[in-house]
């Protein structure tokens, strides 16, 4: 059995896709692309797909991850292209690597988020960020299935800053939706690195924290995009590529899986190559 990990996006209007919606769409794309999926045993067999850490509905993402199990060997590059073709524009498959390491979920330690605040002047956002970061704890409340609960939104935040609008546009490439929405008027853009903890601290919670700490109240809903997720470099406070270990393993001493792929006629080194980012 071959395992392949994929990075995909939720861009533009398709950021309103819920995780359940995405799951159904992805499983149908697997069928249309005739991917030789491994199925679970049992009365109603399901294709083996593991999803990691999905972004909330309405939040755009450049960095969602999942892993699939195949019964026959496929070249990750070709598979990426096939699946990308089978999914609607906006749900784009950007990268595929063959799996050589276990415990992928543990690799996803933190996320980089970008938050666009239309109608908020950058200076006002700068002040709020400073006040937020100056505090050790910022308690926020959120409605959960078990009622409202209070938790700290500050501890999980590794980094928080405002960035230049043009820098932001270059990175998200329209993931936030309609381009003309960002056109006129004041607009502050936040970039933040948030550790994945329990309970999860989401960009919403950090916004609640900014309101609690500095009365920052955006007039329209924030447009949120996940830019990356992966291992957290504690020294620099940056998020690194979660596919790194698989790429390294593929180029190092062939593991059992790599040996299998070699036997199937695909050089292990190619199997682990990054499939062109969009």
């Amino acid at each position: 059995m071959q395992r392949i990990r994929l990075r995909y996006t939720k861009r533009g209007r398709l950021r309103f896709t819920s995780h359940r919606d995405f799951q159904r769409a992805f499983e149908r794309a697997l069928r249309r692309a005739e991917v030789p999926m491994a199925y679970s045993a049992g009365f109603t067999p399901h294709p083996k797909v593991s999803y990691a850490n999905a972004a909330p509905t309405g939040v755009g993402s450049e960095a969602e991850y999942l892993e699939i199990a195949l019964t026959a060997h496929r070249d990750p590059l070709t598979l990426r292209a096939l699946l990308d073709e089978s999914l609607p524009p906006g749900l784009d498959v950007l990268e595929a690597v063959e799996v050589h390491t276990s415990g992928f979920a543990d690799q996803l330690q933190a996320s980089v988020w970008q938050v666009r605040l239309d109608g908020v002047p950058r200076e006002e956002a700068d002040v709020a960020v400073e006040k937020f970061l100056a505090q050790e704890h910022v308690e926020v409340r959120r409605m959960t299935k078990n009622g409202e609960r209070a938790f700290d939104a500050r501890g999980a935040v590794v980094a928080l800053e405002t960035v230049d609008g043009q820098v932001a546009d270059a990175v998200t490439g329209g993931a936030e939706g309609t381009p003309d929405r960002s056109g006129a008027g004041a607009c502050a853009i936040l970039r933040l690195v948030v550790r994945h903890l329990t309970p999860a601290v989401r960009p919403d919670d950090v916004l609640s924290g900014l309101r609690a700490a500095a009365d920052l109240a955006p007039p329209v809903p924030a447009a949120v995009t996940r830019l990356a997720q992966g291992p957290l470099d504690e020294v620099t406070g940056t998020v690194t590529d979660p596919f790194g270990p698989d790429r390294d393993a593929a180029t190092a001493v062939p593991s059992t899986t790599a040996g299998l792929s070699a036997a199937a006629g695909v050089p292990p080194a190619r199997g682990g190559t990054q499939a062109g980012t969009a």
Binding site: R13, R24, A25, P45, T57, R181
Partner: protein
């Protein structure tokens, strides 16, 4: 007035973070079509007047969407009812009713086509018109407002919403939408001579489009209709239904829409035949879609193959009014199960008659992995009442079939019934309990297990236009509920079998509103409008439906009339009465319907004309149609494997 046709999406997008399930409003479904606005000279907005999750899988809308978009110079987009949370925001922010394809405002289209499967969608039509900025009453509309066309089964009596419609099409829509397109195109190309009135007149004169404003309804002092008469030269006295012949010529949908949002049917549906002549007297669908026209086994095979490739669905639904009645159903099921064994594609037959079911068929349906429950609809509990409704299924048939099912590993059988049928007594309904007990008894006997189950599902009967029961009195809501409670108690109190029988029922109140609208006339327009203005929406949804609102608004709106809700629902009609839909020709001979109604009261059954000589229901000669059934003798061959 020139309206710029811009996407409303930027304005809509700002509202979406605040609503439930925003994905339903963003479009972008696989196989959806967005055409350049200026490339088309006739533009249709098609609506299913219910929530997206119900409307998107609707086959009627999907078929017309494709048929229209395949045409050069024609554009069709879809719109669905928005939930009240978004409706409130759209009103607050001035966002109009939009299509999900290109998010264009509905008001900008030439034709606004609305498909009604049920009368409970009427208030949603008014919401959509109002959100679009189209005047509710047809007479208030101007040259630039879309022509509002209704179709679908509920449009066979459109009189309760006649004030809000410009046109109505009865019957199959495939060819009708193209004919309407041609008329509108010519009228536009000529510079819209004679304005809106002329366009409607041209449509009416085709004989296949009903334009309510060209007909006057006259009433007798006692409230009954005296006559319905054309008020404009050249308009036909009766408007005929449309019938598509040779389904193989119309293999739609070829590319079914695949939504991102979850919907009520997640499968590749193929209509294996249209029409039904079993002759169940309560069944409007069977009466108005005659004659039976089968799609050939090879035509079905092609549609399934292309459709699965285009969608990636994991289930195929073989649709029709009684799917096991297809002359080659066994070969179809086996052929498809063989073809898709590797792909784990399940098959389903949504409507199966007890007497047409057999275990070979059932085994083919479940071969590729799934074994859901079996569902049958005996409709009536006693042999007597089944004769009244002409549902010719004997208790022996049923017991034999369920015995086979339980003996072959099924654990669950669902049975559908109706309450409030003509001549029905408490005893007829209590027989349902006896039938369910015998089902369980037999099931335990053949399976040797005690964990088998049977679910009884029952709803109130609503008399429908164009059926032999169109003259029948409807049972009141309270009487329906009382009868259902007696049945529930009879099931629950049974020590031996009661725990193995599930009981699900719908109370009688929604049925009264459905009955009011089903057999209503133009005087009910003001009731529908009053309910809408009072906040009535999504009447098919229990959580939104308000019986109290409907009754309050009806009392008020009908205060000056001689008629009331009971007059429309629980009153029995006589032979002489002019019915509000008599000028809409479904092909059924009214005298034949009356004779069938009389036969019903005498418990006389009628055979199916597919297997016995014609019994002169009138449809084929009136509509110049004929029965089209197999067998063709062909088989579905294995597909050649093309694999890259």
């Amino acid at each position: 007035m020139i309206m710029p046709v811009e996407s409303v999406f930027p304005r809509l997008e700002a509202l979406l973070p605040h609503v439930q399930k925003p994905i339903q409003y963003v479009g972008g479904e696989l196989n959806s079509t967005v055409k350049d606005w200026d490339s088309a000279d006739v533009r249709w907005a098609l609506m299913y007047p219910d929530a997206y999750e119900v409307g998107l899988p609707n086959q009627g809308v999907m078929i017309l969407y494709e048929v229209l978009n395949e045409r050069e110079g024609v554009l069709a987009e879809r719109t669905y009812s928005v939930w009240p949370d978004l409706e409130a925001l759209m009103r607050e922010h001035g966002v109009p009713q939009f299509t999900v394809d290109a998010h264009r405002p509905v008001k900008a289209f030439d034709v606004f086509g609305v498909s009604f499967s049920t009368e409970l969608g009427y208030t949603n039509l008014l919401t959509a018109l109002d959100l679009s900025g189209i005047p509710l009453e047809a007479r208030d509309r101007g040259l630039d407002d879309p022509i509002v066309v209704a179709g679908g089964h509920a449009a066979f009596n459109p009189e309760p919403i006649a004030d809000f419609l410009d046109c109505v099409v009865v019957g199959d829509g495939e060819q009708a939408v193209l004919e309407i397109t041609d008329v509108v195109r010519a009228w536009k190309a000529e510079g819209r001579p004679g304005g809106r009135e002329e366009a409607l007149l041209r449509l009416a004169r085709t004989g296949g489009v009903y334009v309510p404003r060209f007909y006057d309804v006259e009433y007798l002092p006692d409230g009954r209709i005296s006559r319905v008469v054309p008020n404009t030269p050249g308009v036909p006295w009766r408007v005929s239904k449309h019938t598509v012949m040779d389904l193989d010529e119309w293999p739609y949908p070829k590319q079914p829409l695949v939504p991102l949002a979850e919907t009520v049917h997640e499968r590749m549906s193929v209509e294996i035949f249209r029409g039904c002549t079993r002759g169940c007297r309560f069944c409007q669908a069977g009466m108005i879609t005659r004659p039976v026209r089968e799609r050939s086994i090879t035509g079905i095979g092609d549609m399934v193959e292309k459709g699965l490739n285009a969608t990636g669905f994991e289930e195929v639904g073989l649709l029709s009014l009684s799917s096991a009645d297809h002359s080659e159903i066994g070969d179809i099921a086996k052929g498809l199960a063989d073809r898709y064994e590797e792909d784990k594609i399940g098959l389903s037959l949504p409507s199966t008659r007890v007497d047409a079911f057999n275990i070979d068929l059932a085994n083919e349906l479940t071969r590729n992995g799934r074994r859901s429950g079996l569902t049958f609809a005996p409709e009536g509990g006693s042999e007597r009442i089944r004769k009244v409704i002409n549902k010719m299924v004997s208790e022996e048939d049923l017991i034999r079939t369920v015995a086979t099912a339980y003996g072959n590993g099924w654990r669950q059988v669902k049975l559908y019934f109706m309450c409030g049928l003509p001549t029905e007594t408490d005893e007829d309904v209590l027989q349902i309990a006896e039938m369910a007990k015998r089902v369980i008894q037999k099931g335990r006997e053949v399976s040797g297990r005690s964990d088998i189950r049977c679910t009884v599902s029952i709803g109130g009967f609503v008399p429908k236009p164009h059926t032999p029961f169109q003259w029948a009195p409807q049972l009141g809501a309270e009487e329906t509920d009382a009868r259902l409670e007696k049945l529930r108690d009879a099931i629950r109190e049974d020590k031996k079998y009661g725990r193995s029988i599930g009981f699900r029922y719908h109370d009688g109140k929604p049925g009264i509103v459905e009955g009011l609208l089903s057999r209503g006339d133009r005087r009910l327009g003001q009731v529908v409008r009053a309910v809408y203005e009072d906040g009535g929406r999504f009447d098919g949804w229990r959580e939104h439906f308000s019986f109290e609102r409907w009754m309050r608004c009806a009392d008020k709106a009908l205060a000056d009339e001689i008629v009331d809700v009971d007059w429309y629902t629980t009153r029995e009609r006589t032979y002489e009465e002019v019915l509000p839909w008599d000028h809409l020709d479904s092909g059924l001979d009214k005298d034949w319907l009356w004779e069938d109604w009389q036969d019903s009261l005498e418990e006389v059954e009628v055979e199916d004309c597919r297997w016995t000589p014609c019994f002169d229901c009138g449809v084929c000669p009136a509509m110049q149609t004929e029965i089209q059934v197999g067998p063709t003798g062909k088989k579905l061959l294995p597909l050649t494997v093309v694999n890259g």
